[in-house]
Symmetry: D2
Subunit: 412 residues, 4 copies
């Protein structure tokens, strides 16, 4: 949960942000049919409609139900359907069964959204709830990114290779290939890591604390699809010595030979099957693959602290991030933010003196601090404005359906 | 595949039957949304839309493609999606992934149906293809029953318990409780079993052949929900000695304690959750359960030959079967047909001198002759006119999502 | 359980048979170390020591405990270890954990055997128990065959390929190749099948009853390793149309490409890795493979009734069966018995009017009558004297670790 | 792999250490039968005989084969059997099949040990190989601890509850209950963590580097069995909010309700089932359980750095560790070492500038740096002299068969 310092910005801005983010979610599903919006291709992923509903449940539960006097739940049996993982909020439908919810319909979910949005107007002006509203907004932004990666995964399983958006031959500029050529050095020493308050952040980003770094350097550019092809051509997926033991098991059992979504010279995108641009950043790789690639390249992944130390001062809203309902596509660019989430070699663990918030929202982050890895930055599917230098994304080392990539590091 | 004796009936009737059965399929999905029609709740089940498409693929492939000169496939990449299990027809989508086909849309599948129906009109008048058309019709009838049982299974997984049709308080008469009270005796001796030709039947129903029976009796009535409750109350699900060894394993591992769809005093139906009528036939039980019940009752299941010997001469179109697009519901009635498929103690095996037809349609039945059990009769979800005394339905001993029940037998 | 007609033969012979069979079990384990005798390579198989103990448990439980006044169990906590599947006899160790029983030691199990044998002497003279003793003897013979096939399976998993016995270059005569050349015809008609009493048989062999057969023929010879190589060379394992649907799934998922124990030109035997004799009967195949082979050969498997009809009058103690503690090896020979168990196309089901015996021994056979297939004859690992024309062996269609083979049949 | 600084101690001492450790391994298996020594109860565990052989393979491969001119492998086909996980050393038997190796016999493995020991005498005097010999010794010590925990796990699965050693009523003093009462404070600041060379250590303990700590305190005592009973009695295993998300899943799916080896008031030990001493340290818990307990107690687990900072200067050879072949038993005592390995909240990751050694021994540690957690200290089954303050043990968060426990920490 967020550190909830009061913001000085007018609540007027908050209401605008609320409305904008709610509209973006709806714009993202505009190209989807009722059936598209109900698809669930694996337990990790959720239907688009479920994302629309779950984000609404979040506002209805933690804002309206808890703080708006007299508010009645839109439907008493829907929380069971749209609670994700909050044990404190009671039982819920098995995660793998979300794709069986053809009812409520998409139209009914839109009705719910309108109902909740109308009621929320009465709370948005009340600055006592600002921190929770900001959490709800950030939460919905996270689900916007998941909605995009989940529907991509579902469409990928349709042999017809459906396109959610038409390809835009103009919009996709040829990627700028930066390769690993340049390095940004850092002298090491004591740096302050984590969020210090004064604005919104998730609870897992704090408390701010000091960390001692050795001198290191971070690559200017992300590893590209062309780099990755070299790794494949050099037998990277068949060379045991490059891999973590669990990674090697996984590669062999699952028959992994390329990033997710690669097929011959093509890759699957929100615009269907498309040719691959070797200069664009590689994405849809697992931690195991990122780590093996770094070993092959003779370098390593950065720690989350190294990455953050260099990101401080950069504009987290820069780079290739999501602005509108249009196909996200990594294109390569300067700066540490955008294009893809970047694996670090840091396990996702609590910062010193971290304590989850009390109550159900305390389940937001802390209980996932086992077995996952920290990713930094922001991807082409991250709503612009959502990320920060202190932001900690996290996934299991086998997961690949996010826009995940890597940036190399080395010791100095 | 069917024994394909030429029918003397005018091809005019065949065309009428074709059109009627095609319309019924479409009427069955009328209450379903685009998302409802895409649901797949387990690998055994298929989406309603898939049934609409697969039955159309059958006509397009085995009739139009193979026999209508110049016919062009409606879409060249759809056979991959809608072939069920015909190895001779090439690769196909993994069975468990049928629920990921949000595309083609329901409307596109309806367009395909119309296109195929129009082309079929040119073949329906040609009596050379009559046997294949009859096979296609019988095939679509089978999928109508599956469509109904599959969507019931999917809706059951939605905690909201959606109703596909409103309950009809008038239509559902109180069930006639026949219990096991009466028995129909049979003196035994040599009987002729199987289909002798002269009209349509599946290939697995023949050849007709002689079987020697010992004297036996068959219960007049089906086992009822009330009888089943007695079995439960008497500890039937907890008494190892009543069960086949594999059945006991299954009951314990899967935690089976009642028929599928039972919850407290209710059961799930196409009209949502409803009270249970103790006088109505029990359904949605597995072979293992049927066998255990028979052991508990001190009787046994009939063989398929015994059942067929007594069914000869009865009207297979009688009893409670599906006439229109309305909720199927077992109600109990006289006669051997209708209400539910009845387990026999006969394994599903080839009859003497049975040979599958040549070509892909030869895969229709023969290759499933291992590990399954024969069921006889017809259920409330079987389109009236589909069944025969010689009809052999078959399922694995753990499967329960069909309208399956039992009628006891005993030795004389 | 056995039909327990009293035998007229002197109980003197029974005692001799008892002692002989007990000694044979012990001779079979003579080449095994303490560790060898504890191995369990899969849940289907059991350690050799466990077989020694379980057969002793059978006599101690159903004879001594139940019928010898004042008998005290050798160890009160051993029945939990050595009960196989008798629910009526209470809880027992999980089947897959039998290989974890390093205690009791082999010597302790031998002590138990001696203790039970001594006590049994007092019962062997009492003809009231003759039927149960005969059952116990037949039971131990079954476990002798299992002991041999189980230890073979365990040794096969040791990359060193241990030999249990030295190869006997003299003992293994070149096999007589009979191929399918000749056929024995049967005119069909009503035959009596099953055991009529008057001597020992398992309960599943009765009651005797009449069965109506169509005219058929059975091959003079068993299918050989050379025949099987032709099947492989002709792509038998890659041709879907030859296989039952479940068999095709199994072949593909498990990567089956040859009988169990084949590797290059060799096969694994109780004497380690040896060259394969193309004229010897093929063994260690599953029902799925046997059925596919028959389809490839243009014939079929016999029913259990056809096989039995032709076996009546033959000497069931003839052919290549187990006489002493020496490596069993299929060599080919005349007659229907010996070399290998022969798959039939009959599912393992109860005969008309079959009822399991009351009490725990009633679990011997009846509860396994689901999902398995009947095999007839006797194998090179079957103790001579154990089999009968009416004998019904049974296995699941995927199991291959027994000496299982096939003899073709055809319609006349 | 070890940092291989040359030791000043005479090679005379090395030879003595070599001999002593080799003798201890053999003494540990003295109470085991041939069958006991072959048991494998799960893939994580290995047979005792396998440990004897694998440690010998290590010396034969990396010392004798690589460095003793003219040395011939004792058996050419044994490395396939006894290589554990060194990909660079080629193929090897599947881990789960180690329990099927009844051959070579225990006596043959002892012969191999003697053969290798004799050959090693020629290398022990050569100080060029000292570092590798020290690695081999430390490696064998690790396997001594595994041998003890693996055989305990195997015996636990025998319902007879075999004792490997008789209980020593004198040897087991009543445990000293220290509880959490006292705390050792640490002021925080920059500390040096990791091994600096100059003596033997594993490669994962280095390089030494600086870490910045916040002020904290570590409990004087280990959490006891009595403390753990309070946790159980307070519903610890049923309270979702105490658990990491993956831990809660595990607890529910696996039905975890107590530490491994607890049953009623007893626990399973190397001396069979024994009463539990509430004052003794709790052991055989998973990371998930340790973390949940700490949450319940209102404290937390220490980081590996905090633990090491306080351990510097303590005698790592102190406390309750393994001296001779006798039953290991946690008894409680002062000092940070001994009794049980203590979970930290640190994921097992490489230290800054860590690089695995070149060649096969480089696989010793580095490739396991994913998904596991660091444990510090030493247990009652750790051969005394093996551990160090810098030592990093590591296990997956579900594993419980080691002597694992916990010591609480808190922020100051």
């Amino acid at each position: 949960m967020a550190t909830m310092q009061r913001e000085r910005s007018a609540t007027h801005d908050l209401a605008g942000a609320y409305r904008a983010i709610r509209r973006l979610s709806e714009a993202l599903v505009a190209p989807l049919s009722e059936a598209d919006a109900t698809l669930q291709s694996m337990p990790d992923a959720s239907p688009a409609k479920w994302h629309l509903a779950h984000t609404t449940w979040f506002f209805e539960t933690f804002l309206l139900r808890d703080h708006l006097p007299g508010y009645q739940l839109f439907r008493g049996d829907w929380p069971f359907l749209f609670n994700s993982y909050y044990e404190a909020e009671g039982q819920r439908i098995a995660r793998a069964n979300r794709g069986l919810l053809s009812r409520p319909t998409l139209a009914e979910v839109f009705d719910w959204r309108a109902h909740v949005d109308a009621a929320m107007e009465r709370l948005l002006a009340d600055e006592r709830h600002q921190a929770l509203v900001l959490l709800g907004i950030a939460h919905e932004q996270q689900h916007q990114e998941l909605l995009l990666t989940d529907i991509k995964h579902a469409f990928f399983h349709n042999p017809l290779g459906p396109a959610m958006w038409p390809q835009d031959p103009v919009g996709v500029a040829p990627a700028q290939h930066l390769g690993h050529g340049g390095w940004r050095d850092h002298p090491g020493g004591i740096v302050t890591i984590g969020h210090a308050g004064g604005s919104f952040a998730f609870d897992n980003e704090g408390p701010a604390h000091r960390v001692l770094l050795e001198p290191f350097a971070l690559a200017e550019g992300l590893v590209t699809k062309g780099n990755w092809q070299d790794f494949i051509d050099d037998g990277g997926y068949r060379t045991a010595s490059l891999w973590l033991s669990d990674g090697w098991d996984w590669v062999q059992r699952a028959g992994i030979m390329a990033p997710l979504y690669w097929r011959d010279g093509q890759e699957f995108t929100h615009a269907g099957w498309q040719g691959r641009d070797p200069a664009a950043p590689v994405t849809h790789i697992s931690y195991f693959e990122a780590d093996a690639y770094a070993a092959w390249a003779g370098h390593r992944l950065p720690t989350e602290f190294e990455w953050e130390a260099l990101a401080q001062g950069q504009d987290p809203a820069g780079g290739n991030q999501l602005d509108t309902a249009a196909p996200p596509l990594p294109t390569g660019g300067a700066g540490l933010f955008g294009d893809c989430w970047q694996f670090t070699r840091s396990a996702y663990l609590p910062y010193p003196r971290y304590h989850p918030a009390a109550g159900a929202v305390g389940e937001y982050n802390g209980k996932f601090m086992a077995g996952q890895w920290v990713l930094k930055g922001a991807s082409c599917a991250t709503p612009r404005g959502h990320s920060r230098a202190t932001y900690r994304n996290f996934f299991y080392p086998r997961q690949r359906w996010q826009f995940t990539g890597l940036r190399l590091a080395k010791d100095l």
